[in-house]
Symmetry: C2
Subunit: 135 residues, 2 copies
DNA sequence: ATAAAGCTTCCTGTTACTGGAAGGTCAAGC
DNA sequence: GCTTGACCTTCCAGTAACAGGAAGCTTTAT
């Protein structure tokens, strides 16, 4: 049995965040000692580590909630699990592609300014005169 | 002269967001007609388009605020402008690198599940038994 | 005995908006 | 003249996922 800071240390999730997870119902309410302190055992640690690894993969809390239920009850089809992971993979790939476009634009901007005088600053000029003529 | 929805349409920024920008002081308070409606001219459109292009580049509002001031007063050194763009470029590149690591992990996960039975689901197993032994 | 550390709850703040309610205004159609 | 619908206003709440900090207990160490 351990208290919240020990669990935090072992899991790599802050005590603050552990309380938050409990509050939103991602983790079950912790058992309390006589003094009101939360008490945790190995199974709490296992569950929290699972959650942490999901968060490391940027899987949203709502999806983790589903995964936790699947784990707990063993009732949902494996397909659902796979779908969550695939959705997340898709999100990540889209974000990467968008960021690459962004990167190009920024790199072009960053290299475009040689002037010391702000009134001739090529960066500001570029931002004023869009390459994308939408606006 | 135009009202807020026209400005929204021309700039590609929603009316809601325009009011929000005014509220936080990113845009100056709009001139009001007798009925209290906001009135905008070409210069408002120009400024808002500038802001929108910065946001398209994911430059944070606080940085845009600086850029707007630089534009308005022409007083800050060009270096400051360049630094904001370079900082943003740096952020974007870091994010891209992190996301590539994420992508690998997720792709490995997504391809690892062949079972129909959730109790043998390789995805859940992987999430339970970390490849990174931190936890 | 006292101080420091650890625990509790509760409230606020973060980023950049979005949604919605309640209510005033304006132009068109009957 | 009246109504209907579109457009405008302000204000309040919610989003995601926590982090920071205050106020007040308990436990542990000196």
């Amino acid at each position: 049995m351990m208290k919240i800071n020990k669990l935090a240390e072992q899991s790599g999730v802050s005590a603050k965040t552990i309380r938050y997870y409990e509050e939103i119902g991602l983790l079950p309410a912790a058992v309390r000692a006589q003094n009101g302190y939360r008490e945790y055992g190995q199974s709490s640690l296992d569950l929290l580590c699972f959650v942490r690894r999901c968060r490391d993969l940027q899987i949203p809390i709502d999806s983790i909630r589903k995964l936790v239920k699947v784990q707990a009850f063993g009732s949902a089809p494996c397909k659902e699990v796979e779908q969550i992971v695939r959705d997340q993979l898709h999100n990540v790939r889209s974000t990467i592609m968008e960021l690459h476009l962004l990167e190009e634009d920024l790199a072009r901007l960053a290299s475009s300014c040689e002037e010391q005088n702000v009134s001739k600053c090529q960066i500001l000029r570029s931002l004023q005169t869009p390459s994308i003529p939408e606006c």
